[in-house]
Subunit: 269 residues, 2 copies
DNA sequence: TGAGTAAAGGTCAGTTTGACTTTAAGTCAT
DNA sequence: ATGACTTAAAGTCAAACTGACCTTTACTCA
């Protein structure tokens, strides 16, 4: 098989289309246990491909909006939610992830407050699902959700993210339930308290939550983050910038990398 | 100022162009101290915009190649390097990052072995620079390099990445020098040894490095990673998949998100 | 008023971490 | 050959941290 050089260039470098999608997490009480669990909203595909299947909310990138703004806009258009936390997750671009057309998806992930999640309405084509009980989704969206869940768990273990799933004030027991829901394991209440006592981004208020049949727990508040260690880009759009450490996993093999003559210019931008 | 709805749609949703760039790190001995330091190759812009300035190697995404394959190809075309480690860094898409044209860049970062870095030739338009002494680069590439450095440091602190900057066999002292170069601080040799002794992805060999004027140090070897905790996608292309934990930093504000009527369809993909 | 419940704080042992010391095993100059 | 010198490699010790568990506090309800 052989293509002339001109043919290859013409064929090969027509730009793929670009989409922005978002994985939105919120807490909702489990139907069975009543304990909070992770849920996320999906939209039903009304066109081919994958017509009828559920998919992540998403849409095109407008010319005059940043990536994070596009994610926020799509998110609000589909679910009316305004997230407390919104961050880029990953860029998915496998050649065959969408049949026929080459699509590159820049995926964001978001956390919304519990009260907002309760308000969020469902329609025929927008529904909430338990994050751990999804069926087959359109495209590679199962894989994307799995990766978002993994990222969420890592961020939660690292500290200062779980607050964004709760309201403005919360008890340590509520916060512990968030950790337990996300990490899917029970935590010792006393040790959890000790860990959170000297966390820099949380502070006790003078208020207590009344109404339980026990000693009233103190309410805590999320204190503004201690400053971004990642290169903060302009926060005018609420962009949090690339953020956060990562564990380390290597590819043993290097990429396939077609051999071609040396060329120094990078012309695409 | 007012646009008709049709106009806005037409104007706003023409797709931005897409580029793949890579931040490539390698160790080279410092000119002054001789100790290893981080270097990276840049290419000179031969066109507008930013003509004459140095920039990250990059290029277009071919239709039939994955994102990581495109990164590997561009990398090899410009520097002839084949990285030991290649992973997606972030997707940069600020509206004004390239004058006139809207460009979204999917950026990868790579580590190459020391011996390869030594071989890598320089031309008039490809040169290596110390990572901590860069001048003004084209586009937002200074910001991108800063973020890549931050990511590298985090991965190194987490464990199993530094090996990819060394050869196949290495002494613990060499490995410590890598850590010191990346983290920019001295480490206690004895404690470093203890930490690395029970690291799962490193193992001692029976060989020793001769030739020093002191006790010959044992050579160690990088043992295959213990398996990807991140959703491994097809590794046929050497793609390592999205990887790694992250610390957590919140956007206090949510995005701007223009309010528009509810729409359930996600038509872009 | 006492029983029940979860909050809040403390104890204790095992583990990890950083600073430091000691011993081992080579090379080099005399 | 011997001792000075250098770094490798292993060990010591105290402080910090962690997980398991216990005690006290402060409320509600019967």
């Amino acid at each position: 098989m052989y293509f002339s050089s001109a043919n290859v260039t013409e064929r090969e470098f027509v730009p793929p289309s670009l989409a922005i999608s978002t994985v939105i997490f919120a807490l909702r009480p489990s139907a069975t246990s009543g304990r909070p669990t992770l849920w996320l909203p999906l939209v039903r595909r009304i066109r081919q491909p994958y017509r009828g299947l559920w998919a992540l909310p998403g849409g095109p990138l407008a010319r005059s909006e940043s990536l994070v703004a596009a994610a926020a806009r799509n998110l609000k258009e589909t679910t009316r939610l305004e997230p407390q936390y919104l961050e880029q997750l990953y860029c998915f671009g496998a050649v065959d992830r969408s049949p026929a057309e080459r699509v590159v998806s820049i995926v964001y992930w978001a956390l919304v407050h519990a009260d907002q999640a309760a308000i969020a309405q469902e329609t025929d084509n927008v529904r909430w699902f338990r994050a751990d009980r999804l069926g087959e989704l359109a495209f590679d969206h199962n894989e994307i959700v799995d990766y978002a869940l993994w990222r969420l768990r890592n961020k939660v273990e690292y500290g200062s993210i779980a607050y964004h799933l709760l309201g403005e004030r919360f008890t340590l027991a509520q916060l512990r339930e968030v950790y337990e829901a996300v990490l899917d394991k029970r935590l010792d209440p006393a040790n959890f308290r000790r860990r959170l006592r000297d966390a820099p981004d949380i502070e006790p208020t003078d208020e207590y939550l009344q109404g339980g049949r026990h000693r009233p727990p103190r309410l805590y508040r999320y204190k503004a983050a201690t400053g971004p260690p990642a290169p903060g880009r302009g926060l005018s759009t609420g962009e949090s910038g690339p953020a956060a450490p990562e564990q380390s996993f290597a590819s043993t093999e290097s990429g396939p990398a077609a051999v071609e003559p040396l060329q120094t210019a990078n012309d695409t931008e």
